[in-house]
């Protein structure tokens, strides 16, 4: 048998699943002692170019409470044409279409290599993709121009049948009617008012086919394929391009000392409402582009007086942020409405100041939408990130999926505690739902309105098997992930991943269990839990809780990361970082917690070095990847050489190569990452070097630099404890707590 690391890697590769433990303790008691729960990081749409979708529908267990999907772990009686569900042990007849089944003629779902398999549901119409642009016009002309260009560009990336809509807002909100000849029409709303879907429907003159629908039953939502506000790209391409071209900066005068009035909250509400009454339960993206905070109406986060700054963590702690709670409530309500209907809300916030992401985070977090934070719409960070949203895979389909639901089924011995990630609960109670909630719990189904190949959920389980009920030898605990989603082609698809782990008795096989521990996965799982709690609970408690839990190095960096530390970060930034952390896959998450540091020098090939202040040497070029930033740092000497222009001289070509190497590597990273990281090129003493200095372990500080007395490295001016100190404390703590 392969080593655990290989096993883990293979599982991740094939199924997109990583468990914290790969051998499970067989009883609740033992599991509890393990501290780190049995949990998995699951990437539902893990990119599997080698996995062809199957053009038929899955076979389900006939037990109503189970409905598990036929999978390679099931026992099959080929002669009787029966199969036993490995979750509930129900014996099921194969459907008639499986009549030809036999040992040698197995359907794909029974082959072990298809532990993950994707079905295409043939029923139902092809749903159009809906993209609703919600555009802020309260911004500098330059920004607006850049944004308009990006938007126009994006039109060319949309499939011709996709429906698009445009809502612009400033002081007022305009819902643009598309496809008008000779005159452009829009419906205007005042930004200070929140309208419910019914009011909106009346005001927009949209008649919901309720009457007709009622007759046909609720299951036949014969949604209109388009309406005046949402029309196929192919039809109104030119029109919309012109419309965007004529988009003006919000004309209302902004007096000195005031912020522009920006009706963001109402605009989003209208966007949600518009889709709600036209395309319920259909994949749709609301793409919100904002250049500043909402300053009026529902969801406002700051008043229009410039003298009153937007809330900081300090204000929040002092309970001084008077708009926050109300604003948050508004956006939560929107998120809930949107997610109920399977709509995604993306937020592209480009401003130097905060824009209220803290309040709005739930919109993205609950709907699987993107949250992108940049300084300006003119930056490549925004432009490229936005462009990357529309990336297509080899088959020409967007790498995004819509309106997904994830259902998890488990063996009887374990139950589901909850999930953490860009999802909302569907409140599906069932036999495999634990009473012990972790994250979004109390359900075996979650709605994930927006998915991409990296979207990763942390799912926490609880072993419920009692100590006195031994599991039969060779028994395995199984988990089945059933993900239904709307593919960007409009098809409805179901991806099923079934995975199983061995049980082990902690009393006798503790070594096995220990060996199966997946340190990285566990670290991320715990970090997610920590972040989740940080979001929902008071800060210090989380740190203390975390300190009791622990996992070496990661915890040190995690404690210092922006995910838990809010010092030096605005509430918006914290929200943004956490948002990304909660949805990225393991590798990316690891980078976020512990940035990667590479060193380039004449002394040898590029090498990873410790994220420590001691790594900062004058003759090195450092490349740091924190996920959010890609930073190239030129040591003092290198920097001087560069300034002297040696790289220009033919005889110093090697220096030129040295300079070029990290840049090339950085480009590579930049190309694959979403969202685009901030790219920083700096040098010793440069102002931007602070990003590096804030990340490295402050092994040398102004307090101990003389004590250490080493020649190398750069002292960091901080009061934070170094890893050394942290470890010392940790050891002490570990010993004492064990006692």
């Amino acid at each position: 048998m392969a080593t655990f690391p290989e096993f883990i890697a293979q599982n991740e590769e094939r199924d997109g699943v990583r468990f914290s433990w790969n051998v499970w303790p067989s009883s609740r008691l033992e599991a509890t002692r393990m501290v780190v729960p049995v949990a998995s990081l699951f990437t539902p749409l893990k990119e599997r170019p080698d996995l062809p979708p199957i053009q038929y529908e899955p076979v389900l267990c006939s037990r109503v409470t189970c409905r598990a999907v036929l999978n390679p772990l099931c026992q099959v009686d080929y002669r009787a044409k029966l199969w036993a569900c490995n979750f509930c042990y129900q014996r099921n007849q194969f459907p008639p279409t499986y009549a030809g089944i036999s040992d040698v003629n197995q359907p794909a779902e029974l082959l072990p290599q298809f532990s993950t398999i994707e079905y295409v549901v043939q029923r139902g119409p092809l749903m159009p993709l809906v993209f609703l642009y919600v555009v802020d016009t309260c911004m500098e002309d330059e920004d607006l121009q850049a944004l308009k260009e990006s938007l126009q560009m994006s039109l060319s990336l949309l499939p011709p049948t996709a429906l698009v809509g445009l809502i612009t807002f400033g002081r007022m909100i305009q819902v643009h009617e598309l496809g008008c000849e000779g005159i452009s029409k829009s419906y205007v709303f005042r930004g200070t008012k929140d309208l419910n879907a019914k009011q909106l429907q009346e005001m927009l003159g949209l008649t919901k086919p309720t009457a007709a629908q009622a007759g046909r039953g609720p299951q036949a939502p014969q949604a209109p394929l388009s309406n005046r506000f949402l029309q196929p790209v192919q039809k109104i391409d030119m029109n919309l391009t012109d419309l965007l071209g004529e988009l003006q900066r919000d004309p209302w005068p902004v007096t000195q000392g005031k912020r522009p009035l920006r009706s963001l909250g109402s605009a989003m509400s209208i966007a949600v409402g518009l889709l709600e009454c036209t395309f319920p339960n259909t994949g749709a993206r609301i793409m919100t582009f904002i250049g500043g905070p909402a300053t009026q109406g529902p969801g406002m986060v700051v008043g229009d007086e410039l003298k009153a700054p937007i809330r900081s963590w300090h204000d929040i702690e002092k309970d001084n942020a008077k708009f926050m709670k109300k604003g948050t409530k508004h956006y939560e309500a929107l998120a809930s409405r949107a997610s109920t209907n399977g709509h995604i809300i993306d937020i592209y916030a480009c401003a130097l100041d905060q824009t209220g992401l803290l309040e709005m985070k739930c919109c993205s977090n609950h709907t699987g939408g993107y949250m992108v934070m940049a300084d300006s719409f003119t930056t490549s960070l925004f432009k490229q990130t936005f462009q990357r949203v529309f990336t297509k895979d080899v088959s020409g389909a967007f790498k995004m999926a819509f309106a997904g639901t994830l259902e998890i089924k488990t063996s009887r011995e374990i139950k589901i505690s909850g999930a953490i990630g860009p999802c909302v609960s569907l409140n599906a109670k069932g036999p495999c739902v634990s009473e012990n909630e972790i994250g979004t719990g109390g359900t075996s189904q979650w709605k994930i309105c927006g998915l991409d190949h990296n979207t990763t959920l942390a799912v926490y389980f609880e072993v419920v098997n009692q100590h006195n009920a031994p599991i039969p030898q060779g028994g395995r605990g199984a988990v089945q992930y059933v993900t239904q989603y709307q593919h960007s082609s409009g098809q409805k698809r179901i991806r099923v991943t079934t995975t199983a782990r061995n049980w082990a008795d902690a009393g006798t096989q503790i070594q096995t269990i220990a060996a199966s521990f997946d340190q990285e996965a566990s670290a991320i799982l715990m970090a997610r839990l920590a972040v989740y709690r940080a979001e929902t609970e008071e800060g210090p408690d989380v740190l203390r809780w975390l300190d009791r839990q622990l996992i070496r190095l990661f915890m040190f960096h995690l404690r210092r990361s922006p995910f838990l530390q809010v010092f030096n970060n605005s509430p918006d930034e914290s929200s943004y970082y956490r948002h990304q952390f909660m949805r990225q896959d393991l590798t990316q998450s690891l980078i976020m917690i512990q940035p990667i540091l590479y060193a380039y020098s004449f002394n040898g090939p590029p090498e990873p070095v410790l994220l420590d202040s001691s790594s900062i040497l004058p003759d090195r070029i450092l490349l740091m990847d924190t996920f959010f930033q890609i930073l190239i740092y030129h040591g003092e000497t290198v920097s001087q050489w560069r300034k002297a222009g040696y790289q220009e001289l033919p005889e110093y070509e090697n220096f030129r190569h040295l300079l070029q190497a990290p840049v090339d590597d950085a480009q590579e990273i930049l190309h694959s990452r979403f969202p685009m990281p901030r790219y920083i090129d700096t040098e010793h003493g440069g102002s931007q070097a602070r990003f590096l200095l804030s990340k490295v372990n402050p092994s040398q500080t102004h307090n101990n630099m003389y004590a250490w007395g080493q020649e190398s490295g750069a002292p960091i001016l901080t009061d934070d404890v170094s890893l050394q100190v942290f470890m010392d404390h940790l050891k002490k703590l570990a010993v004492s707590s064990a006692a």
Binding site: M172, Q174, E177, C180, G182, I183, S184, K185, S186, Y187, V188, F189, R190, K193, L195, E202, M203, L204, G205, D242, E246, Q248, P251, W252, P253
Partner: protein
């Protein structure tokens, strides 16, 4: 008996005229008789009317009834036709009468009773008239009967007898009893009548206020009808007949006498009564004397009755034969007048210079043309002009009124010409005053009438085009003012347009410090400021405060104490001028922005279907080039914006940089806001392409709309928000079609309920449904947002409520009911063009300052007031007037007179802030006579109508009418009591300046607002009510007394002389043009000459004339050209385009046309002029007694 009586009656009729005049004159001296005669005439008229029953006016209405009877009865007609055969006709007439009465049925009975009772005074006069009028007699009978009752039997009797025998005998004949009886019998309800007729009854009649019901009038009415027939007959066989009748009458009286209590005599009886009655009233001999034109009746008889003089008159009629002779005697004064009528009115005479008019009760005469019974004419003297010598009067009167004065025989009918004629007054004024420019320098001088073309020279007082006062000599004390009841008011049209030959007010700039003003009362520098101390200070003419003259304004005084530069400075020498206002006079101390115009077009189904949307959009494309501007060379700086709406609003961005317009829909109407800022209000030239594209598209976009609901409140709110956002004043043009029932602020419900008309709740129909629009209008005014509303309703739209904002913001309401693109396009477009182009001021505040002693207490017009002194007008255009009422708060001095300064601060259409100042000085008088000599009836009527129309909001309509009548009666009674020389109570004496007051007042009372016909919708009434509130005097004049022009010879530059608004003035063979201020009617007689028709219509055949044409064909003949010129010039004189309607005689549409013949009885019950005059007279007499 009856027969006998009848004949007599007939004879009376025929004779009456002659008789009347003659007899009456004779006795008393021409004067007396004359007056009486007239009275009696009216009286008769009244009586008939009374039956029908209007309550107060009842009499009037009653007349209508009478008319009916006549028509009903073939006999009357026949009579009419067969004037020749008086006897027969008479007989019939009588019978008819009887019948008529009967028909009136109960009324007759009652009427007779009631009439007498009510009318008493009137009746008497009337009766006299009646008596006099042979024609009337028949009708009179009843009346008489009544009257008789009123008066004592004896009197009547005596009178009748007298009349009958001689003239006087008639009086006796009257004997109430007989009359009453006579009528009664006819009616069939003898019992009642008789008793009443008896003394007791009679008294009540006379004395007591006539029963509310028609009695008085009714009674009068009937007579007329009868008279006609009879009269006609008379005319035929005038002389002979007359005598006959007379005699018969005489006889009848006698008969009556016997019968008194009973019916027997009815017919005959009445006549006598009338006489008797007359006699009673008659006393006025004085009048007669003075005036005298009339015919003195032989009258001795009269005297016999209660009063010598009068009776005679009345009697006069009866004894026609004698009368004539009498006439001569009357001669003391020209007898002529009398002749004309049987009805006798003797009007005026003036003693002193004052024109007092005596109207003797007009008798109703048979004169009418075919249809109408006529009202008798009062002998009108032309009296109006004071200048005329007493004697002349008569003569004049005769001319004007009475065609054939002397020949009693010729005329049988009462001649309406004998009552004061508006036409005559207008013509006289025109003749006398249009040649010389009117200079305003003389304080207390009454300007020419509004109907006169005259030039004004500003010499220190504002031109009458800007300010017209009700009185130019105002009483010194409040007591006097109260006694006279003459309203003290000024009708101010601050931005009036002047004819090209008059210079518009000069602009004065006093520099940075702003206009120079009195320190205390803040009056602006004006000619009334007295410079003292060598010119270093000036004393305010209003408050007497002394203020230093700023150094830069200092100027030396000449030897008379006037500044040397007096003539160089408009503010020191003129009545009207403008100041350039400084920033202190601006809102928020910021110079104003140029105003904006915003067009709101209803695009709901009805609006689109009627073609309105299309028309508006087409028109705006060109109209936008004519936005108001001050410098014709430059482009207008007015910016424009466009909105369409149904139950949501569509704003349009028409910024010049756009390739195509942008439409912004605001469906959240519950909380209106402006969806865009930049590009909504634009300069027309900059955005021309986009605007044209928009206007082209609007009709297309909504061509297929199915939306029927509209909003209204949010529309105005939107405009208001737009102006707020642009920080400017402006005007909203709303083109609206239907009741706003869509869910939105200001939503209305259909509350039209015709059942409320005539009840105390009627006033609620004029009140807005909710306070929403009042509040909204406050906001509009604060922003300088003027709203003009163009309505295109197919049904009730609640003008009373929708009009609140326009009316409060200085805007206008235009209403095109059942708008049809083809028919009404021209009218609408012309209104719109004018409305858009006319010069106007925005965000205006008007303040009227007065010298101590009087003060402005009440204001009427389209504006808003947040305090008691400042009139705030969001918009003030050149057609808007503000009427200001003044009251005393102290004694005034004859030496200084009273001063008034009206200052209007406004923003011009170019965005300049200005102050327009109008100064007016009037005399103060301690003699009431001066007051009556220097007042202006047109203005008084303007004021009264505004006052009455406003009162409707809070008071039942009936009360309003009563109040009006009462006040007028008091005015006239006061004159009679204090200014006229003593005369008998039976004479109606009118001040020369106010002799048209009754006829005009009657028109006001008959207007649709105060007296709705069945076909007048609640909306129309509300519309007219609002419309009147800002009319100037010339508009209100033609509105109440339309101009009726016979289209005969149209050569030359002058217009044909107008004729009075009465059907009897229309000749079947003629074509007439009627101008009401809102409409033009072209009435075509059924027998119009072919040539005439060809010239006008291009077809010689009456039947081929298309009654639906709205404009005349352009024919190449001088007549057609001239006619069209006239029509065009009429239209250009009015602020609203008058739609031309062609009315063919006997056509259905003629009813509408007849509605405007305001001297006739109206279908809705309004009294005829004659009836009303009689009623008025009765009221006056009551006041005097």
């Amino acid at each position: 008996m009856n027969v006998n009586q009848q004949p007599p009656m007939a004879s009376p009729y025929g004779q009456p005229q002659p008789g009347y005049s003659q007899p009456s004159y004779a006795p008393l001296g021409g004067g007396y008789p004359g007056p009486y005669g007239p009275y009696s005439g009216p009286a008769t008229a009244y009586q008939p009317g009374a039956p029908q029953g209007y309550s107060t006016y009842a009499s009037f209405p009653s007349k209508a009834v009478p008319a009916n009877p006549v028509s009903d009865l073939p006999s009357p007609l026949e009579l009419g036709s067969a004037r020749g055969p008086p006897p027969v006709s008479t007989n019939q007439a009588y019978s008819q009468y009887a019948q008529g009465d009967i028909q009136n049925g109960p009324p007759p009975m009652d009427h007779s009773m009631a009439q007498p009772a009510q009318r008493p005074p009137v009746c008497q006069p009337y009766s006299h008239g009646a008596m006099n009028l042979s024609g009337p007699h028949p009708s009179y009978p009843q009346q008489y009967g009544v009257q008789p009752s009123m008066q004592q039997m004896t009197n009547q009797m005596s009178g009748m007898q007298v009349g009958s025998g001689p003239l006087t005998s008639a009086g006796p004949g009257y004997a109430p009893p007989s009359y009453t009886q006579a009528p009664h019998p006819v009616s069939g309800a003898p019992s009642q009548p008789p008793p009443p007729s008896e003394p007791a009854a009679p008294q009540p009649y006379y004395d007591g206020p006539p029963p509310s019901q028609q009695p008085p009038f009714p009674s009068s009415a009937p007579p007329p009808s009868q008279p006609f027939p009879s009269s006609s007959p008379y005319s035929g066989p005038p002389l002979p007949a007359n005598p006959g009748p007379l005699q018969s009458l005489d006889n009848s009286p006698s008969h009556l006498a016997p019968s008194p209590a009973q019916q027997t005599f009815p017919n005959s009886a009445p006549p006598p009564v009338s006489q008797a009655l007359y006699s009673g009233p008659l006393p006025p001999p004085d009048l007669a004397l003075s005036h005298l034109p009339c015919i003195p009746c032989p009258v001795p008889c009269r005297p016999a009755p209660s009063q010598p003089g009068p009776p005679h008159f009345h009697s006069g009629p009866l004894p026609n034969a004698p009368c004539h002779p009498l006439y001569v005697p009357a001669a003391g004064q020209p007898p002529f007048p009398l002749a004309p009528c049987s009805s006798l009115l003797s009007l005026a005479c003036m003693e002193d210079t004052q024109p007092s008019r005596m109207v003797s009760p007009p008798c109703s005469n048979p004169c009418t043309t075919s249809t109408r019974p006529l009202v008798c004419a009062f002998g009108q003297p032309r009296g109006p002009q004071p200048g005329y010598a007493g004697p002349q009067y008569p003569g004049q009167q005769n001319y004007g009124a009475v065609p054939a004065p002397t020949p009693a025989p010729t005329q049988k009918r009462l001649d309406p010409d004998s009552i004061p004629s508006p036409i005559q007054v207008i013509e006289d004024d025109r003749a006398n005053k249009s040649s010389e420019p009117f200079t305003t320098g003389v304080k207390g001088q009454t300007p020419p009438l509004v109907t006169t073309n005259f030039q004004v020279k500003d010499q220190g007082n504002a031109s009458p085009r800007f300010v017209r006062c009700t009185a130019y000599n105002i009483p010194c004390t409040a007591d006097m003012a109260k006694q006279s009841q003459v309203p003290l008011a000024a009708v101010i049209k601050p931005l009036a347009m002047l004819p090209p030959d008059e210079t518009r007010p000069y602009m004065v700039d006093h520099g940075e410090a702003g206009p120079i003003r009195c320190n205390r009362c803040k009056a602006y520098m004006c000619p009334y400021m007295q410079f003292i101390e060598g010119g270093r200070r000036f004393q305010c003419g209003f408050c007497s405060c002394v203020t230093d003259v700023p150094p830069h304004y200092f100027q030396h005084l000449d030897h008379t104490g006037k500044r040397v530069d007096c003539c160089d400075r408009p503010e020191l020498s003129l009545g009207s001028y403008e100041f350039v206002a400084t920033v202190d006079y601006c809102k928020n101390n910021k110079l104003p922005q140029p105003p904006s115009f915003i067009f709101f077009i209803d695009v709901s189904y009805n609006a689109v279907k009627s073609g309105m949307v299309n028309i508006v959009c087409q028109e705006l494309k060109t109209l936008l080039d004519y936005l108001p501007r001050e410098n014709p060379e430059a482009d207008s700086v007015v910016r424009v914006g466009f909105v369409t709406y149904n139950k949501v609003l569509h704003f349009y961005n028409v910024k010049s940089s756009l390739a195509q317009p942008q439409m912004m829909v605001v469906s959240d109407v519950s909380d209106m806001f402006l969806p865009l800022l930049d590009g909504f209000l634009v300069n027309v030239n900059d955005s021309r392409m986009v605007i044209e594209s928009l206007l082209d598209q609007i009709p297309e976009m909504f061509a297929d709309t199915r939306e029927t609901e509209t909003v209204f409140g949010p529309v105005i709110q939107a405009g208001l928000e737009a102006l707020k956002a642009a920080d400017c004043a402006g005007k909203l043009f709303l083109f609206h079609s239907s009741l706003p029932i869509a869910e939105a602020p200001g939503k209305l419900k259909n509350r039209e309920d015709k059942k409320l008309v005539g009840t105390d709740k009627e006033k609620s129909l004029f009140q807005p449904q909710s306070g929403f629009y009042s509040n909204l209008s406050k906001e509009c005014v604060a922003q300088g947002c003027c709203v003009d509303l163009f309505l295109f309703p197919n049904q009730y739209v609640d003008v009373a409520t929708l009009g609140v904002v326009p009316v409060s913001t200085g805007g206008s309401v235009y209403k095109y009911t059942y708008f049809q693109a083809e028919m009404d396009r021209e009218r609408f477009l012309n209104d719109l063009r004018r409305d858009v182009q006319k010069p106007m001021g925005f965000d205006a505040v008007m303040r009227v300052r007065t010298s101590t002693g009087i003060r402005a207490t009440d204001f009427f017009g389209s504006f808003f007031m947040s305090n008691t002194t400042d009139v705030e007008l969001a918009g003030l255009d050149c057609d808007k007037t503000v009427t200001v009422e003044f009251r005393h708060d102290d004694k005034l001095s004859e030496d200084t007179g009273a001063l008034m300064q009206c200052a209007v601060l406004y923003t011009s259409c170019s965005g300049q802030r200005r102050l327009r100042v109008h100064n007016m000085a009037v005399n103060c008088c301690s003699q009431l006579a001066d007051l009556y000599r220097n007042c202006e009836t047109d203005t008084i009527i303007n004021f009264f109508s505004k006052y009455a129309y406003r009162s409707l909001l809070n008071t039942p309509t009936k009360t309003v009418r009563d109040t009006l009548v009462n006040q007028c009666a008091q005015i006239l009674a006061c004159y009679r009591k204090n200014c006229a020389s003593p005369s008998s109570a039976g004479q109606l004496i009118l001040p020369e300046c106010m002799k048209l007051l009754p006829v005009y007042l009657n028109c006001v009372l008959k207007s649709d607002v105060l007296q709705p016909g069945a076909d007048v919708s609640v909306d129309d009434r509300a519309y007219l009510r609002q419309l009147l509130s800002c009319m100037d005097v010339s508009e209100s004049h033609v509105f109440f007394y339309p101009r009726l022009l016979p289209l005969v010879k149209l050569d030359g530059g002058s217009l044909p002389m107008a004729v009075r608004n009465s059907e009897e003035r229309l000749s079947k063979g003629g074509v007439y043009l009627l101008e009401t201020g809102l409409y033009l009617f072209l009435w075509v007689g059924a027998n119009a000459q072919q040539e005439l028709l060809s010239n006008i219509f291009g077809t010689p055949t009456f039947s081929q004339i298309d009654p639906n044409m709205t404009s005349l064909p352009e024919l190449d003949n001088p007549f057609s050209q001239r006619l069209r010129e006239i029509i065009d010039s009429f239209r250009s004189q009015r602020s609203r385009y008058m739609k031309l309607m062609v009315v063919k005689q006997e056509d259905k549409a003629e009813l509408i046309f007849k509605h405007f013949l305001c001297e006739d009885k109206s279908a809705s019950g309004g009294a005829s002029y004659v009836d009303f005059l009689c009623h008025m007279h009765k009221e006056i007499r009551q006041l005097l007694s």
